[in-house]
């Protein structure tokens, strides 16, 4: 067996172990905590008032409802979040480990399940034996305890995961586009969120609109707040979802659909250009205009090819865009022309 083969085998083994630990920490553990809390609360149902207090204003309870949906709420949240967290950490780093952002997403599920389990569990426990839920004591303390204990459990969970891999994936030098004599080049391409991300954003906008309409029907001041919230969500989604990337003699330019936000890196400030494969969660911890460690930022809209520009100050900017090879090739060509002119 060659050393290359054994390297691939140990990497596969490490990736397999990372997957198992991700499922245990991000899935099994939080779901088990949520399930235990729900079962415990369910066993108290005969002793609870009906309806029970489900919302507090600081000066006693101000919202009441049936016990069963309230008891299942933590579990439902945790199950949905766990599926999301494990999916987001499935793509490991090249060495088979996890980026720190992925570890954070996984242990956040442990924190949330503990916080909700103790917080909501405590609020229900306080109501055992009461005949009227109006006498339910305040629950701020149980949520605070839940949040604190959750931090400790999440910290332990962090060390159950493999050590964070901070190595940033490196790209490849693009093939310079042919540029001769007095020719001028202009490359541009639009880039947008992937279809899956757009679908999720659509659901978010629909939910916000639903809440806004519901709130607007119930009270006049709420209507104002709801409309502002809806406008903020809509504007940020539109400004973040469609971009135009261009490369020419001026340098590298990325502009949002509404002209803002935008980023312009002048040719004189470009040190190198690379093409690389981007995994948003692994490399940037999410989508949109992202910052990650080590002076690296970018417009990250989907998994796949991207252009990475390293500025003369060593800062790196990444954009996910189709036909990245040509765009990067144009930058490489105009950089080459600039250097040959300077010599």
């Amino acid at each position: 067996m060659s050393s290359e083969d054994s390297g691939a085998v140990s990497r596969d083994r490490r990736r397999h172990s990372t997957h198992i630990r991700s499922i245990i920490v991000g899935g099994t553990l939080p779901v088990a905590i949520g399930l235990a809390a729900t079962l415990l609360m369910a066993s108290w149902i005969p002793e609870l008032p009906d309806p029970i207090a489900v919302h507090w204003s600081g000066a006693g309870p101000d919202g009441f409802g049936p016990a069963v949906p309230y008891l299942f709420m933590p579990l439902a949240f945790v199950v949905v979040y766990s599926v999301f967290a494990v999916m987001m950490s499935w793509k490991t780093t090249p060495s088979g480990s996890l980026a720190s952002g992925q570890k954070l997403v996984l242990v956040a599920g442990v924190w949330m399940s503990t916080m909700l389990g103790i917080g909501i569990g405590g609020s229900v426990e306080f109501q055992r034996g009461l005949s009227d839920a109006k006498d339910a004591p305040d629950v701020g303390i149980t949520l605070a305890i839940g949040g604190g204990v959750g931090l400790v459990v999440a910290a332990v969970a962090w060390f159950l995961l493999p050590p964070a891999d901070e190595a940033q994936p490196s790209g490849a030098v693009p093939k310079s586009v042919d540029l001769r004599g007095g020719e001028r080049l202009s490359w541009s391409h639009s880039t947008r969120f992937g279809n899956g991300t757009m679908a999720i954003l659509g659901v978010v906008i629909a939910l916000t609109a639903g809440i806004a309409i519901f709130a607007a029907m119930s009270s006049r001041p709420a209507a104002g707040v709801a409309i502002v919230a809806l406008a903020v969500v809509a504007v940020s989604v539109v400004s973040m979802s469609l971009w135009r990337v261009s490369a020419d003699h001026r340098g590298f330019i990325v502009r949002g659909a509404m002209g803002w936000p935008s980023k312009r890196i002048l040719l004189a400030d470009i040190r190198t250009v690379q093409v690389l494969d981007v995994h948003p969660m692994r490399d940037f911890g999410g989508y949109g205009w992202r910052w990650s460690g080590g002076g690296r930022s970018g417009v990250i809209l989907r998994t796949g090819p991207g252009i990475e520009i390293t500025s003369s100050r060593g800062k790196r900017f990444v954009v996910t865009v189709d036909d990245a090879e040509t765009g990067a090739g144009v930058i490489a060509a105009v950089l080459k022309k600039q250097t040959s002119r300077a010599e």
């Binding site: 004599g181 001028r184 541009s188 391409h189 639009s190 261009s246 001026r250 036909d323």
Partner: protein, 117 residues
């Protein structure tokens, strides 16, 4: 979409620009429904006059390749790129052959122009 123009060649700039965009729709580098950069943006990118870009866009509109509306920009409406597969292969083959014989791009273009006569 990659646009390439050469101010030192004898062909007018708007003609070169229109040709470059036309070629991009044929190779599939621009797909139907895609929005072209605004005339102002493209002019700045190529360091040419905005009227030159507008003239090229108007030419492409008259050919039915793009839809030009004030405020909406230029949108590609041309035929689906699938129809051009055979042509793209033929162009690749002609360029490969020309490279083999050390024939310059302008000489190859001249040959193609001749063949049209």
């Amino acid at each position: 979409m990659l646009i390439r123009i050469d101010p030192s060649s004898g062909v007018p700039l708007f003609d070169q620009l229109a040709g470059s965009i036309r070629a991009s729709t044929i190779t599939g580098a621009i797909s139907v429904g895609e929005r072209l950069p605004s005339a102002r943006e493209l002019a700045a990118s190529l360091d040419i006059n905005v009227h030159t870009v507008l003239r090229a866009y108007q030419l492409l509109r008259d050919e039915g390749l793009i839809d030009l509306r004030p405020g909406r920009g230029a949108i590609v409406t041309g035929r689906a790129s699938g129809d051009y597969d055979a042509l793209n292969h033929a162009v690749d083959a002609a360029v490969a052959e020309a490279r083999k014989l050390d024939i310059t791009p302008s000489a190859l273009t001249a040959l193609i122009r001749e063949a049209y006569q």
